[in-house]
């Protein structure tokens, strides 16, 4: 998931150390807090039960005062029901007479309670609280004019407090896990930027020097230990450079001034020998190289994607709180997702051009402006229109920022392995998606939807502060012209490519936005899950993608079986989404999400490689990046259609039906693609163009 790069050992040790130092005290504090919570909650619940009991006893005493015999009270079920309904921790309510006989009871079978009531002596204050089976029974005396008529019993769920604690425990563990991953990201960033990165540069310099190359030295960077070390090392290289120049100058002097031709020839020979063995900068001193690496952009990118992913699990729920006259509630919930995807699709080409002209750092910062503004608008929105404007702004910002990062990574990664560079990008996006999803759900449940968007804005600003420190890569490679509309049509004339995009790439995105982003949160909410739990359930999808992708990438490379994996992935995903048809409840949804995760995990990496195979000639002309950009653009059609299609289906089919319907579409597409994949022929997969393996 996280490419530790060359600093693996240092960072691993730091991580283990940080975990050892941080986790025990956190665990102790947390355990203490839980204990306090439990101790505080139990008397609080007792008090609440006693209050409820007194209220009920008061009403019953009123009836008794009016001369209604206790055993002939009417409508006690309707009397008890609303109290039980509005207090989830209550399990039953009962009324007993002075002998302890149960007159009325709601919520539990009288036979469970009767043995206890008949023997207990409620006159003793100590006996008014008792544990009966799995219940905690609080007895409130019922008195009229000093006469004890009986008791009102309030029964609480004995497991209520442990259940609540369990919920909190899960939340805290989630937060801890997310915090550790974020800490890992920060450590990775700090170590890479300040230690591992510069040291790698200097070791490269020495490696070059060993081969006689003294042309370049790294920029010393910060004025810390590492910086001083690099300066010292640079000084040594500079000293060699200086000595070389003095030696050459002396040789020149001898060559031009010596009377003995033999000596001049010897010197010239020696000089040639030296020039052959050692290479120095032409400019008169070693060139200082501001070398930047893909890893430098990882933390800003991570934070930015994290900010967007916070709202992933509850966006349709938040959207559903708005309304638009004449539009179905489902469509109102779907539109914010669809317009966000549309904004990304439309802004991406523009963002690409922008990056070419302004450089990654400035574009990153520029893109943050609409993104942050969008978060604030979304969080403050009072009507659907405001929400949509906010999402469009964030979508535009998202397109610009991610494009800036991609460009940074692809440029900085030249010289390194390109695959590693793209790994940094994909790794940051996937890690942020897992963390943001989990953390955002908890945030929304405890602080509200709107607060989560303000947290997004803060995260995005933090990403900006870090990005401001980036230096644009020194090696500005003239990027190949971004492919325009012409390229799009040229690509689509390649029937293999067209079939791939329409029947594999688009359905994948359709299922992603339609089911994971839209239907699953709404359906799970309808099934009674809280937001934080919904977010954790959605992790089934992201988690399986994250875990499967790297292994599948290797498998695809090793076997060359790419179209097959893509087709298999499509079939698994489509089939999985049909599961909710089999029965209601949460389990089929979990399985469907898992299948979709496996599906996308299987097909994501092979998809990229497959594009290169299918469009070998086009790649030569437009460039691999250009072709991939067209794929991204085209598959967004699926992203936009997903929630819209789902919203149209829900009123007709219900949530489960809509998931299955999207599954059926994905399945049908996958079958077509599988057939076509056979028709692709067993011809050689042209060019082992295996640079990118996210």
């Amino acid at each position: 998931m996280i490419r530790l790069d060359s600093a693996r050992s240092v960072i691993l040790r730091l991580m283990v150390l940080a975990a050892l130092v941080l986790l025990p005290p956190m665990a102790i504090i947390f355990a203490g807090a839980l204990g306090d919570f439990q101790q505080g909650m139990e008397p609080e619940l007792d008090r609440k039960a006693a209050t409820i009991g007194r209220d009920l006893a008061g009403d019953i005493a009123h009836a008794a005062t009016l001369g209604i015999p206790l055993d002939r009270l009417v409508g006690m079920d309707e009397f008890f029901a609303p109290v039980l309904e509005s207090n989830p921790e209550l399990r039953y309510l009962a009324l007993t007479n002075a002998d302890g006989r149960i007159l009325f009871v709601a919520g539990v079978q009288a036979t469970v309670l009767a043995p206890h009531y008949e023997t207990a002596d409620f006159e003793q204050a100590g006996q008014r609280k008792a544990i009966i089976d799995a219940y905690l029974d609080i007895a409130v005396p019922l008195e009229v004019k000093g006469e004890r008529l009986g008791h009102v019993h309030v029964g609480m769920d004995g497991g209520y407090v442990p259940a609540r604690l369990h919920e909190i425990l899960i939340d805290v563990v989630t937060v801890l896990a997310v915090a550790m991953i974020i800490a890992l990201e920060v450590l990775l960033y700090v170590v890479a930027l300040n230690a591992a990165g510069p040291l790698k540069q200097i070791s490269r310099t020495f490696e070059a020097a060993r081969r006689g190359d003294f042309i370049r030295i790294p920029a010393p960077g910060a004025r810390d230990e590492v910086g001083r070390f690099i300066r010292t090392a640079n000084d040594a290289v500079c000293r060699v450079d200086e000595l070389y120049r003095r030696l050459i100058a002396y040789a020149e002097e001898v060559k031009s001034a010596h009377f003995d031709k033999g000596v001049v020839e010897r010197v010239a020979a020696i000089e040639d020998r030296i020039r052959y063995l050692f290479r120095f900068s032409e400019s008169g001193s070693p060139e200082v190289v501001h070398h930047r690496r893909a890893l430098d952009v990882r933390l800003p990118l991570f934070l930015f994607v994290l900010s967007e992913e916070l709202s992933r699990s509850f966006m349709p729920l938040y959207g559903g709180t708005f309304s638009l006259p004449g539009v179905s509630p489902e469509m109102v919930a779907a539109l914010p997702i669809a317009v966000f995807m549309a904004a990304i699709a439309l802004a991406s080409p523009f963002a690409g051009t922008l990056t070419e002209r302004m450089g990654s750092r400035r574009v990153f910062l520029l893109g943050l402006m609409p993104a942050v503004l969008g978060y604030l608008l979304t969080g403050l929105a009072q009507a659907e229109a405001g929400l949509l404007v906010g999402r469009v702004a964030t979508g535009i910002g998202y397109a610009i920022v991610t494009m800036a990062c991609q460009s940074y990574v692809s440029k900085a990664a030249i010289g390194e392995q390109k695959a590693q560079g793209l790994g940094v990008y994909v790794g940051a996006v996937l890690t942020a998606s897992v963390c943001g999803n989990a953390f955002g759900g908890i945030l929304a449940e405890h602080a509200g939807y709107r607060a989560a968007f303000f947290a997004s804005a803060v995260l995005a600003v933090a990403a900006g502060v870090l990005a401001a420190r980036l230096v644009d890569p020194a090696e500005t490679v003239k990027a190949r012209r971004e492919a325009g509309v012409g390229a799009l049509f040229r690509l689509l004339r390649n029937w293999r490519f067209a079939v791939f995009v329409v029947f594999a790439a688009m359905p994948a995105k359709l299922a992603l936005t339609g089911v994971v982003f839209f239907l699953a949160p709404l359906y799970l909410h309808q099934l009674g899950w809280e937001v934080a739990d919904i977010a954790r359930i959605l992790l089934l999808y992201a988690g399986s993608v994250v875990l499967l992708s790297p292994a599948v990438a290797r498998l695809a490379d090793a076997s060359g079986w790419r179209a097959g994996l893509v087709a298999l992935g499509g079939l698994i995903g489509g089939g999985g989404l049909l599961l909710p048809l089999l029965g209601g409840g949460t389990a089929p949804v979990l399985l469907a999400l898992l299948c979709l995760g496996v599906s996308h995990g299987l097909s994501a990496s092979p998809q990229l490689a497959l594009v290169s195979d299918l469009c070998w000639t086009e790649v030569q002309e437009i460039g691999r990046t250009g072709v991939l950009a067209q794929v991204r653009l085209l598959e967004r059609v699926g992203s936009i259609a997903g929630p819209i299609l789902a919203a149209l289906l829900v009123p007709v089919t219900g949530y489960a039906g809509a998931i299955a319907a999207l599954g059926a579409i994905a399945m049908a597409m996958a079958v077509v693609f599988a057939v076509a994949a056979v028709a692709y022929g067993t011809g050689p997969t042209i060019g082992s163009d295996a640079e990118v393996r996210p």
């Binding site: 009403d59 019953i60 009123h62 009836a63 005062t65 009016l66 001369g67 209604i68 002939r72 009270l73 009417v74 409508g75 006690m76 309707e78 009397f79």
Partner: protein
Amino acid sequence: MIRRLAGLVLLAALTLVPPAAAAEAPKPFRIYMALWRGWEEAAQGFKDYFANQNIPVELIVRNAAQDKSKLPEFVAEVKRLKPDLVFTWGTTVSQEMLGVIGKVDPARHITDIPAVFAIVSQPIEAGLVPSLASSGRNITGATYLASMETQVNLIQSWRRFRHLGMVYNPLEANSLVAIHELEALGRSVGFTLTALPADLADGKPVPASIAAKVAALKAAGVDILYIPPDTFLNVHRDLLTGAALEQRLPSYAAAENPVVTSKAMFGGIYRYYTVGQLTAYKAEQILVHGKAPSAVAIDPPRRLSIIVNMPVVRALEFYPPMKLLGLAEVVDPAGAK
């Protein structure tokens, strides 16, 4: 010149500002109250509303003392005094002073001054308004009878019943309307109605026949006796409710008196005081908020008062559900035991 102009502007501004908004020296609204039976609960509720809302009013109170001949004098006085609003109490006063639709004569009726009516049981049938949503005229008001559906729901919430009984005065239009409505409701909700008319002698209903009718109802297997708002039954309420108690037949009354001052078991009514307050609220919409009377709908108060006659309940041992008891006003002069 300029000063005089400024003065004019100021004067214009002052007249434009609604009186309630003018903070200093608010000019009270002048309201002409035409009453039928003297100062009672509805009039008091009307007056108290303005006091509670801090709306200054000057009330010109006239009592017809159930004498129809006084009403033309009232109309003449209204035309002379030109108050801001007219309040009419009861069907007769409202009909005589405001006129019934199709027979409104600006010379004999009040047309140019907004009016609110109270304690009119059936404004449409009385010819005052064509619909409750809007009078289409310069008047509005509050009704005081609960809809039959509300009443049936209330009785059902005490006990599900399948057979409703009713004794009525065949000469009273209100009762005939009630029978019609109950029969229609019975068909949709699922109960039968047995309505027996009191015997007539010399064109008048005979009080002595009531007890026998109640006994006949009981024999027919009636679950609950419905007592309509009927003047004859109101006068002879002790006969009627006493007979019901004797037959151990629970009774529900659509008016206050049979429950509060006699032996009906329970009733669902709008208190006159509440009706008076609602009428004042409608007056406020017109006077303070500048709404046209035709834009103010005619409706009963929101909250139905449920009155339970506890001694009767105890005698019948027909106890109300806890929920209903929590909402009800209990009449229990002696207390239990």
